[in-house]
Amino acid sequence: MSRTLYDLVGLAAGVAFILALKGLSHPKTARRGNLIGAFGATLATLVVFFYANPGSSLPLNNLGWILGAMVVGLAIGVPAARKVQMTQMPQLVALFNGVGGGAAALVAIVEYLHLGPKATTAEVIFTVFTVIVGCVSFSGSVITFLKLQELMTTRPVIFPAGRFIIAATLVSVLGVGVWVVSALGTTPLLVLAALSLLFGVLFVLPVGGADVPIVISLLNAFTGLTVAASGYVLDSVLLIIAGTLVGASGTILTRKMAEAMGRSLFGTLFGAFTAKPQDAAGSGEERPVRSGSPDDVAILLNYARRVVIVPGFGLAVAQAQHTVRELADMMIAKGIDVAYGIHPVAGRMPGHMNVLLAEANVPYEQLAEMDEVNPTFGQTDVAIVIGANDVVNPAAQTSPGCPIYGMPILEVNNAANIIFLKRSMRPGFAGIENELLYDPKTMLLFGDAKASLTKVVSALKAL
């Protein structure tokens, strides 16, 4: 295959990626967009097998190893992607991103070993960039995975003199980077990789759990840039275009996510340096709460004119989306005005609630975005909060010190009655107490969301 044809196919794959991102930005075309992206990636992968790089010949050297490695990758990636539960999606995305960063770093290292002293300064600089950022992306993603999977604490990990250690690590990373560029050699490069991995860990540890998706998105953009840098070293227009696209769109997306959570990007990444660890269970004192029975809840709902359902992470855990839909349908049949109030960061990934409720075939019109539903709480008789906590916590507006301060919330506190379905008095993801649970107009229905909802549905039927 001629170089021109090879490059043109690469460009076509780049165009497919542009169309993919474009498609993914609109609900109607999102799925098709993803398929176009997959098509472009397949095309790009197939075509390398038919083009002999300078100094090489067809079929590719090490073909068996290459195909074998791809089969292994498929055998790991596909089942993981197929079987993951919706609640664990963010972790998986984080991991996939991390391995991508790792792959880019490895490619850069191999190419560096291969080029040896023939490498131009520009190539070495791009290699150093790829190794640093790829390794940071890899180890950072692993930490976010551990946090989201709750294999480690979801709260900011602050250690004494933390910010000095981080700064020192960063300085050594950069120092070793300069060393690699000036002296060349395998050892400095491996030291660089090791230090970068360490920096990735240190960089993500102090990030509060609630900000983790922002960090994933940022690391995703970083990985894109490493791919673009590899494209320079390997002289591939496709990698340059694809990597840059991901880098740029990922940056915008990160900013948008941060906005949706009401956080400044800067604060997310560096604010944790100064944050003090929060006390998990608040003051710990026992305060009275009003808890009710499924019948109490059913009665309240039966006489309401307008009900807003606020789903959260607990709904996803309990897989209660179908039951909640049943409840909503019953209320609608009774002539009650029902809407779902969707917080952009309810659950553990942006749009999590939309996915879950769409899975349960909840009509799109019943889903109201935060800005839409907030002004209506004044006319709402009952707000029923199902497995959500942080996204309705007024502390986000009232207590400047707390980790979610500044995040816009669903203002259920303006509704006439509030019902909470949760299992205990434990706080949500951000680990801070929710005063609303103690509010006189709040009623708590303890138990797993799905079980509680089933009981409420039966009680409502009986009325």
Binding site: H26, G73, I76, S230, T251, M349, G351, V355, L356, E359
Partner: protein, 93 residues
């Protein structure tokens, strides 16, 4: 390729990247992130190229590892994105 060409391509691709996603609604943040994530799995192409011209065992070993990781990234990414988006399907008809 000339540095100037590469810089131009980079700058233009940055604009394309900015523009195409600038109107995305928060509902699609996760699928978009996941789809973009899958796209950078195309580093697989780079991994295959370096595996082709690996001359030592160390190089080949690292390249093979890169292929495994990149394949996971690419294929897993597209599959998981499709799964997410499949759930929206019901309402979009």
């Amino acid at each position: 390729m000339e540095p100037m060409a590469i810089v131009s391509i980079f700058v233009l691709a940055v604009f394309v990247g900015f523009e195409v996603v600038s109107k995305v609604s928060s509902t699609l943040h996760t699928p978009l992130m996941s789809g973009a994530n899958a796209i950078h799995g195309v580093i697989l192409v780079g991994a295959i190229i370096v595996a082709d011209h690996s001359s030592t065992n160390l190089e080949l070993g690292l390249a093979v590892a890169a292929i495994v990781l990149a394949t996971i990234n690419m294929v897993g990414g597209f599959v998981v994105t499709d799964r997410m988006l499949e759930m929206f399907k019901g309402n979009k008809k």
